[in-house]
């Protein structure tokens, strides 16, 4: 059976449903961070720091920092939430809670557990991104932010795809990290470099190497694509580039994750 085909099998959905059920039981507490984080970021950096910075030049347009930041936060939320969930939470479920082992003694197989984790990380990250959209809308209602609001719902599928791709990156580290003490490594190796080279929070300096590297960064394309879409109402090639790179990541990493996790979970070849 193809590993990719397992994503749509009922066992993967059963694992996803399990995670959703657990999450929804404490929705009132777990919803606070995704609401507060963009709120604080937009207030402190967007309005606070932005008022000190003055206008920002982006694609020959003059913007205040809040307008530059808003699409970036949306992209960063999809990336970061998904990566964190598939790395940290999945590691805890696999290693400490042993809930993977419990699932694997049923009709659920490892490919379903892996897809269940990836789909859950992507679903959660997308739901956080939707919350960010609502926070952005609140800023709009307060007269602080003007976006092409009609495009906002159209960004959701792309945010989901990005989140799914980065969940595969998170699962890669779940498979290879020897212990929870090494969790800081992927943050230094992935989160910080990908985040910094992405034009989510600030425009990239016009340095040749950095420009070329950022071309391979799906988060950069997502942030820029969302910025074009939400600030100008024009879909650009960045959105396609982001989707393409995310699909490439998924096709390359999910089979690799499976292989590494098989070795890790079963001690098997």
């Amino acid at each position: 059976m193809s590993i990719l085909a397992a994503s749509v099998q009922w066992q993967s959905r059963a694992v996803l449903a399990r995670h959703i059920r657990v999450h929804l039981r404490s929705w009132h507490t777990v919803t606070l961070p995704p609401v507060c984080e963009p709120l604080i970021m937009l207030l402190t950096f967007g309005l606070g720091l932005g008022s000190q910075m003055g206008a920002l030049l982006w694609q020959d347009r003059s913007l205040n920092y809040l307008h530059y930041l808003a699409p970036g936060i949306l992209a960063y939320t999809a990336f970061m939430s998904s990566f964190f969930q598939s790395l940290f939470a999945a590691f805890i479920r696999m290693h400490f809670q042993k809930s993977w082992e419990g699932q694997l003694t049923t009709q659920v197989r490892l490919e379903h557990v892996v897809w269940g984790e990836a789909l859950w990380a992507a679903t959660l990250a997308t739901s956080y991104a939707v919350i960010v959209c609502l926070v952005l809308a609140a800023f709009g209602l307060a007269g602080q932010l003007t976006l092409h609001w009609a495009w906002l719902p159209a960004t959701i599928p792309l945010l989901f795809l990005t989140a799914l791709a980065f969940s595969a990156v998170g699962l890669f580290f779940t498979a290879i990290l020897p212990s929870i003490d090494h969790m800081s490594l992927p943050f230094f190796l992935v989160i910080l470099p990908v985040g910094f080279a992405s034009s989510t929070y600030f425009p990239l300096p016009d340095v040749p190497v950095l420009r070329e590297v950022s071309m391979l960064n799906p988060l950069h394309h997502l942030a820029e694509g969302l910025r074009w879409l939400l600030l100008t109402g024009r879909p650009t090639w960045h959105l396609g580039a982001s989707a393409g790179l995310c699909l490439l990541l998924l096709v390359a990493l999910i089979p690799l994750d499976m292989r590494l996790l098989r070795r890790r979970v079963f001690g098997d070849r």
Partner: protein, 322 residues
């Protein structure tokens, strides 16, 4: 003749490049308990994990109620239940939630799953803890929950991997009663255990595994006879003549000494067949010793001290090994 529900043939498995299971056959019929015995690292858990599909066998096949585990995994897995050695219930759910969630991992879905859960809660004595998280339960009740999870979907074959390890005697007896009741219902049960009294009480047949191979199989008495012999002489280690008796035993041809003697605290346990015992009595008329029939403890000791016993293999699991 009850139908054979588990049929494992010529199972082989290497882990980390080292053979752990080397050509094991297992069968278990409806209403039968098969006890798997062996020292640590013998390959019991690896064998069991191949039988319930957690590990892929390098060679050999497993059929559950006629369905090949490799070719028809969904059909085969629907018919088996597993109680793992570690507590692998879902700590995010209550006791009732665990049963419900486990039921959701099987298709076709157990008809009337809700009422089945209520019945299982009563039957396993878990009713008063139904709304508690499993972490708050005592060790005995955690094991009850693990066994309850393994049968919530009404399987035909149940694998119990050391189901009473770490329990106090009262809790062990309670688990034994549950296992006996499951057997009475016609389930085929495969059990691994370190407790010899447990194996003797619960198992209809024993299969002794050593270094990844079946060393002996059959009813307890036959297994003991095959591996240990018919008698065990207990000689105080400090007794004058004990060393001479050991030297004499070691000089016997291999056909007369089934396994090596083992020292347990202040006594040497020397396994002997009938001819060996007669020769021993004649040779050491002044030696003070006790002779008794072998027990499963002797079997375990014998297997653990046999020459060529390899070191325990790294157990597959969620731990990453260096």
């Amino acid at each position: 003749m009850p139908p054979v529900l588990l049929e494992a043939t010529n199972l082989e498995k290497a882990l980390g490049g080292r053979p752990v299971v080397q050509g094991i056959d297992l069968t278990c019929a409806a209403g039968e308990v098969l006890g798997l015995l062996g020292p640590n690292g013998a390959g019991k858990t690896t064998t069991l994990r191949m039988c319930y599909g957690y590990l892929r066998a390098d060679k050999g096949s497993v059929r559950i109620d006629g369905h090949d585990l490799a070719r028809e995994p969904d059909e085969a897995r629907r018919r088996l239940g597993v109680c793992t050695q570690d507590d692998t219930f879902d700590a995010d759910f209550t006791v009732r939630g665990n049963l419900l969630q486990t039921g959701r991992y099987f298709r076709p879905r157990q008809p009337d799953l809700e009422s089945r859960i209520e019945a299982v809660l009563d039957r396993f004595g878990l009713r008063e803890f139904a709304n508690q998280k499993p972490d708050t339960l005592s060790g005995g009740y955690k094991r009850r929950l693990m066994i309850a999870r393994s049968v919530i979907h009404q399987p035909k074959v149940v694998f119990l991997d050391e189901p009473t390890t770490g329990l106090d005697p009262q809790a062990r007896v309670a688990v034994w009663e549950l296992i006996s009741a499951l057997r009475a219902e016609g389930l085929a049960i495969v059990l691994t255990t370190h407790y010899m009294d447990e194996a003797a009480r619960l198992s209809d047949r024993l299969q002794v595994i050593q270094a990844g191979r079946v060393r002996a199989s059959g009813v307890a008495a036959a297994v003991l006879g095959d591996v240990v012999g018919e008698h065990v002489a207990l000689i105080p280690a400090a007794a004058p003549g004990a060393e001479a008796a050991l030297a004499w035993f070691r000089s016997l041809p291999p056909s007369h000494r089934p396994v090596r003697p083992a020292q347990v605290l202040a006594h040497w346990h020397i396994p002997l067949d009938a001819r060996g015992l007669a020769a021993f009595v004649a040779r050491f008329p002044d030696l003070v010793y006790e002779v008794r029939p072998p027990t499963l403890d002797d079997l375990f000791l014998a297997l653990s001290t046999e020459p060529g016993e390899p070191p325990p293999p790294a157990r597959p699991g969620t731990e990453r090994r260096a």
